[in-house]
Point group: C2
Chain length 192, copies 2
DNA sequence: AAAAAAAGAATGAACATTCATTTTTATATA
DNA sequence: TATATAAAAATGAATGTTCATTCTTTTTTT
């Protein structure tokens, strides 16, 4: 166990360092040597755990995406009204964005740049399923606008990313009141 | 004039090449040598027109941002109802995003990465003024929700960027009908 | 023919990755 | 239990490449 645990610790330290450095400088501006230093490891050691830099970032992305999905959909159960279900999911996303903003910021970076390769990106998209089902049901019940899921996502979920980025830049400060205002805007934009 | 024109042409060729290459690979993954090649110029020549790579990108950003602003607010006049004014501005933004998607995509890249330095970013933010005034008036008239401009922007303007990026990736195809649906979502999210 | 603009080649730094050794861990033997 | 040794893990120092920028020479303009 000692040995296995040690490996896991080292891998986690590498993922953590990757997130922090990529968040602050972007993929191409974070050298492997810095990642190694922050994780207290030799540069060569990274290559015992990951194939190369791209692989390190892809794996980091998938790991963080999984944390996100687990957190967001854990509290969700299908037997609610569409509005309530949406509110539960939306609030969990907002909570993740506030509480785990390092992770949230990293995911945004990945979504907005060519940092992640296509297969990993595709893999990361599957997570949406429960939300898409909920929207489908909402459309059938005449509660949600009958428009493309991309539009629903763009208006009700993606704005949180924008606000998080603004907060990270220090331009905007999220408060409890803002969350409620934002939720209302999200719901208004997609409800019929 | 011949000489001056030649210089302007060369500078424009460099800006154009920068936009195209940065759009497809990002800032750090586009070497000066490629920019030079695409603009039919020697790498050394770039340094006659720009201080360094950062300066080249900053200037490109400001130039594109200006094109955007000019286009978006040209058709706007203050003597309309808040709703009509908003619709005019919003539709112009949508039109710019469709018709000049190379420019729109470049601006998104700049907004989502640490590619642009802080002074240039600050300079680029001023453009919003007419929209912010309109929202202010809308709040006073009780037509627009009394919430932070960041929230209004996040819900009514920023989603277009998300949709453009999805389109660029080939995941989503913008049609005339989508534009109308998107406008409705935008307006619903901010109206009282 | 002087000045300005442009070019290609050279420079030096940064970086991803690999290599040759050293250190640590696990195992087997006494 | 203590020791020897083989295997695994980790390391710091190369390696070779890519790139921004500068230097020197050539071409173009005045």
């Amino acid at each position: 166990m000692a040995k296995l645990q040690k490996s896991i610790d080292k891998r986690n330290a590498l993922l953590k360092a990757t997130i922090e450095l990529v968040n602050n400088s972007g993929f191409h501006a974070t050298p492997m040597s810095k990642i190694a230093k922050m994780a207290n490891v030799s540069p060569a050691t990274i290559y015992l755990y990951f194939e190369n830099k791209q692989d390190l970032v892809n794996q980091t992305y998938l790991e963080v995406k999984t944390k996100y999905t687990d957190f967001v959909f854990k509290a969700y159960d299908e037997n609610t009204s569409v509005k309530t279900g949406f509110e539960i999911i939306w609030k969990r996303i907002a909570e993740f964005n506030s509480n785990e903003c390092e992770y949230a910021f990293f995911l945004n970076q990945c979504n907005n740049t060519p940092m992640i390769d296509e297969p990993s990106r595709k893999e990361g998209i599957k997570y949406l399923q429960p939300l898409l089902h909920l929207w489908q049901r909402g459309k059938e019940e005449g509660v949600i606008k009958p428009v493309s899921d991309y539009i629903l996502y763009a208006y009700s979920i993606n704005p949180l990313s924008f606000l998080i980025m603004a907060q990270k830049r220090g331009e905007f400060q999220f408060t409890k009141a803002h969350i409620d205002e934002a939720f209302l805007a999200a719901w208004d934009s997609i409800k019929l």
